[in-house]
């Protein structure tokens, strides 16, 4: 018998102080009801901050509402959706977003996995280099955007001098942010620099979870390091890698802050991602209904892609 169960203990004394009508009501509740009672505040909070804005945005997407105009909401059916899906500019912005997502993810996976394989080995200064590699991920996108803008300056930015050192081209002969051909790759480069450590961290967790005896057995079988990588390392890290890709793809699809600070969608609109179009229509043109429809399209696309991905992830885990 524990101290808490003894008669006249603190627990019993507190229970005795509960008003009789409250005690009777609580005594009559089942375990399930009590569980619901405890999680109800969290569910209400989630409904208020997640579900309500989503439902409100869906409702707004069927109206011609402009939040800077003092006029009532007017229902206009699916006109906003038709406008978006017939607009060639928005189509181009979706293409720019796809280019950004695919390039960023490909680079992050290759470099992130490579770094994780390197960091997974024991060497002198291991902890120091791990911290150095993880630094970009810890910075704010606002800071990253600003200092990369400075690095890319054609006159004073060190990036152009570095490129000219290797290629021989004069540093002021090209601008990374202002060139139509280079700007899309510039945002890919900066996003990769910032988020590769995240992919590396997840891959590292995967590599650490592989038991040593599997490699020892492979060495007994005289498997080459290349064979060990393809037959052991990659299949066992794959679920982790897929998880990292899922998170990063969603993040890249909705990327706004970094690109807005670096290029603001320019030059022209070559780096205008859909999130920037969304911000412009919502807070520069004040087309709230139109921008809500665009937000719903983005949401459904990301939700659908995430569904496929989770299904693939489950298949890989079951293998």
């Amino acid at each position: 018998m524990t101290a808490a169960d003894e008669p006249g203990t603190l627990v019993e004394r507190i229970a005795a102080q509960t008003p009789p009508h409250v005690a009777a009501r609580v005594r009559g509740l089942s375990d399930r009801s009590i569980a619901w009672l405890f999680i109800a505040p969290t569910i209400l909070l989630l409904l208020a901050i997640n579900i309500f804005p989503l439902v409100w945005a869906i409702r707004l997407s069927f109206t011609s509402f402009m939040s800077n105009m003092p006029m009532p909401m007017r229902f206009n059916g699916i006109d906003n959706y038709i406008d978006i899906l017939a607009d060639e500019d928005v189509w181009q912005h979706f293409q720019a977003t796809a280019h950004f997502v695919v390039s960023t993810i490909a680079l992050q996976v290759v470099i992130g996995l490579g770094l994780a394989l390197l960091i997974n080995r024991q060497f002198r200064g291991h902890s120091f280099w791990t911290t150095v590699i993880l630094l970009p991920m810890m910075l704010s996108p606002a800071v990253v955007g600003n200092f990369w803008t400075l690095l890319f300056q054609p006159q004073i930015g060190p990036f152009n001098y570095l490129i000219s050192f290797f290629t021989g081209a004069p540093p002021s002969s090209f601008t990374m942010i202002g060139d139509v051909r280079l700007a899309p790759w510039t945002i890919v480069l900066v996003n990769t620099w910032m988020w590769t450590p995240y992919v590396m961290l997840i891959c590292l967790a995967g590599l650490r979870s592989i038991p040593d005896y599997i490699y020892e057995a492979a060495e007994v079988d005289r498997a080459s390091p290349w064979r060990q990588f393809w037959a052991i390392t990659l299949p066992m890290v794959l679920p982790f890698l897929m998880l990292a890709v899922l998170f990063q793809a969603i993040q890249a699809f909705e990327m706004f802050d970094l690109v807005n600070l670096l290029t603001s969608g320019g030059p022209g609109s070559v780096t205008e991602l859909v999130s920037i179009t969304l911000k412009r229509s919502a807070f520069e043109k004040w087309e709230t209904g139109y921008s809500s429809a665009l937000a719903v399209i983005l949401f459904v696309t990301v939700f659908g892609a995430a569904n496929i991905y989770v299904k693939a992830l489950n298949r890989v885990k079951q293998r």
Partner: protein, 70 residues
Amino acid sequence: MKQPVKRSAPSLPPLRRLFRRGPWENLATAFIAVGVVMLCQPFLMTLYSYSFITILTGVALFTIVTKFPK
């Protein structure tokens, strides 16, 4: 020598066989994947215009078929 008795698998009712999760889930996944490709492809504006309805159909189908028995 006794031959082992072969037992056939219990046959499912036709409706349950029709509404199995696997094939329907694959169909919904195909809809979503094709829709995303249509949304981001740089070749035909018509494909872009019909991309959202394709993705939406896939997502709705996926949400429904995940409730089907395996």
